[in-house]
């Protein structure tokens, strides 16, 4: 029997919750790079805080913050090359897509209901956020497969959640990726929740990374609150994919420190103790502690950077706000290259205030 209790190879970890490095652990991430990571993680947290406030005032669309998951989001994004690699998000990786070249004002414009201004600019190798859970994974596999067929040396990183891992699309996409040797890394953020549904009832598996073997992929589990380990594991997987070594499934074990989205109320289902415990493993604080111990971080620097990032975020928000608002006829935009006569007529009817 293949026991369900066979051990998982250990969860990769470098930077411990207290800001010290695990005994014997080493990372590819140098200090300067880590400061850069911290910058992005803080930017993400600050953006979340800002737009949640805005949403409460009715100005922002339904929004899912990445709070608590910044190490996963940024550590993975820093391992891919925006100039040649592609990123396929679900929806909670907003700042990863920004790191990958999507201007913050563009993705912000999307949440403000804009159309044209929310278009991903040409040349930015990011697919749109995906609300239909796991539907992005077959796309990602096809994209990676196609890049290989076209002889490009690009790799795809595709995001998915613990909830999304239960969808049939997850299975089909990973299996196909193994068969066609697609250059792809599936990055599963296990944040312990799918809305109110606990990881414990999402699957009886001990580790989602164990699924890799069932598709002939490499698998890895990593402390998703440890930006150094996330970066390392993802970098290795990307390098392997790029050199023809096939796909990897990475499970980043993290915790959703916010609500599911701005319509959610976790107090109905979340144990406050669990939440408090998760806070003690905050991915940002541990980096700050680590850098502080090296003399590279202190309250002053934090205040300065916070202000700088707030300004950056605010500029993006202003740009998004001032971008053109949708016109009624945008209902008909971007459906077909050449709209069929029926649509042309419907559009005219809408504009005339008439109907069919």
């Amino acid at each position: 029997m293949l026991s369900k209790n066979r051990p998982v190879d250990s969860r990769r970890s470098v930077l411990l919750p207290d800001g010290t490095v695990a005994p014997g652990a080493k990372s590819r991430m140098e200090e300067e790079f880590l400061l850069e990571a911290l910058r992005w993680m803080m930017k993400s947290r600050l953006y979340d805080q800002r737009v949640i406030a805005l949403q409460r005032q009715g100005e922002f669309g339904v929004y899912s913050p990445g709070m608590g998951q910044e190490a996963s989001i940024i550590g993975s994004a820093m391992a891919v090359d925006p100039a040649r690699d592609w990123m396929v998000p679900q929806y909670r990786e907003l700042m990863a897509t920004v790191h990958h070249g999507l201007p913050l004002e563009v993705i912000t414009a999307q949440y403000l209901g804009k159309i044209g201004p929310a278009r991903i600019p040409d040349g930015v190798r990011v697919l749109p956020t995906q609300v239909s859970i796991a539907a992005q994974l077959p796309h990602a596999t096809g994209l990676a497969w196609g890049l290989r067929l076209r002889g490009e040396d690009s790799v795809v990183i595709a995001y998915i959640g613990d909830g999304g891992s239960s969808e049939g699309d997850f299975h089909e996409a990973l299996n196909l990726a193994g068969v066609v040797k697609a250059p792809i890394v599936f990055f599963l953020q296990n944040n312990q929740w799918a809305i109110s549904t606990s990881r414990r009832v999402q699957s009886a598996t001990r580790s989602f990374a164990l699924r890799a073997a069932g598709y002939g992929l490499e698998g890895a589990e990593v402390d998703g609150n440890d930006v150094m380990a996330v970066f390392d594991v993802t970098s290795e997987a990307i390098a392997r994919a790029r050199s023809g070594g096939g796909p990897t499934l990475i499970e980043a074990v993290t915790y959703r420190m916010g609500f599911h989205n701005t319509t959610d109320n976790p107090s109905r289902y979340q144990d406050p103790k669990e939440y408090e415990e998760a806070r003690s493993r905050d991915p940002i604080e541990r980096v700050q502690k680590y850098l502080a111990a090296l003399g590279l971080w202190d309250a002053k620097r934090e205040a300065a950077l916070t202000e700088e990032l707030r300004d950056e975020n605010e500029r993006a928000l202003q740009l998004a706000r001032s971008a053109s608002v949708p016109r009624p006829e945008d209902v008909f935009a971007n459906v077909y290259q050449d709209p069929p006569p029926r649509l042309v007529r419907q559009k005219a009817e809408l504009l005339d205030g008439h109907d069919a």
Partner: protein, 325 residues
Amino acid sequence: MTQRNIVEAINSALAEEMEADPRVMVLGLDVGKLGGVFRTTSGLVERFGAERVVDTPLAEASIIGASLGLAIAGMVPVAEIQFLGFTAQGFHQLGPQLGKYRQRSRGRYHCQVTIRAPFGGGIKSPEFHSDAVEAQFVQTPGIKIVMPSNPYDAKGLLLEAIRDPDPVLYCEPDRLYRAGRSEVPDSAYTVPFGKAAVVREGEHVTLVAWSAAVELCMRAAEKLAVEGVSATVVDLRTLVPLDVETLCAQVVKTGRCVIVHEAPLSAGFGAEISATLMEEVFYDLDAPVGRVTAFDVPFPAASLEDHYLPSLDRVVAAVRRTMES
């Protein structure tokens, strides 16, 4: 009698039936402690326990397919699909499997399964959440399709659905969930399938609708009354079975008809209504039957939904045109 909105009416139907019949169980995403994203299952897990009110993994095909198996085991599953648009992920289990199972088993097995799902625009949901795809399931016979528009019907039709030995797709108008309360009995009662409701009687034109569009038609009828046009409003309540009799009788009375729905025009269920009227009452029509629907494009960004969905103005304008022809 208590005043209830649709959320409360549904919740009351579920609670009643779980109390009365130990085989009834509720399953789906977040139906437990959260009580569903719209709170329709609120309080049920506390009352009936986690074996009968089950938060499932995020996988629509298995929610529907497992319900089929649960029914064969003798349970009476009431499954929630978080939004009707996500029935797409379980399409093969809903239309082709649930719908055909009695036939393909030569009658040995039937599927006493209810699939509930909210849908519809008007609440600025993210993409896929608003899609009105009810007509797709009319093309997979074997399923009944139920479209309540008000709290009283919501409870009565849901109890009828749960007790129906055949599979039922029960679509909930999320825009109206908390739109208002009306009298809903505390005890159990059923509203039969295949009986349209004439919710307003008029002389000049018949408006035909279901789900949230009924409310829109009622508003249109009021506005039209001011201009001297008196409109009948027919709430179909169920698309399968379809109450051809009431539909035709009302249209014959007024001679004119406008159908209103939230789904795109082409091949929406409005087409079926129009074609049926063509076949049944052609010679009684004083004007061509009109349709006011969403346009033939995917549901757009929430910021555009008001331009996409049938509006009061569009319904009124269509009636005016019908009156003039």
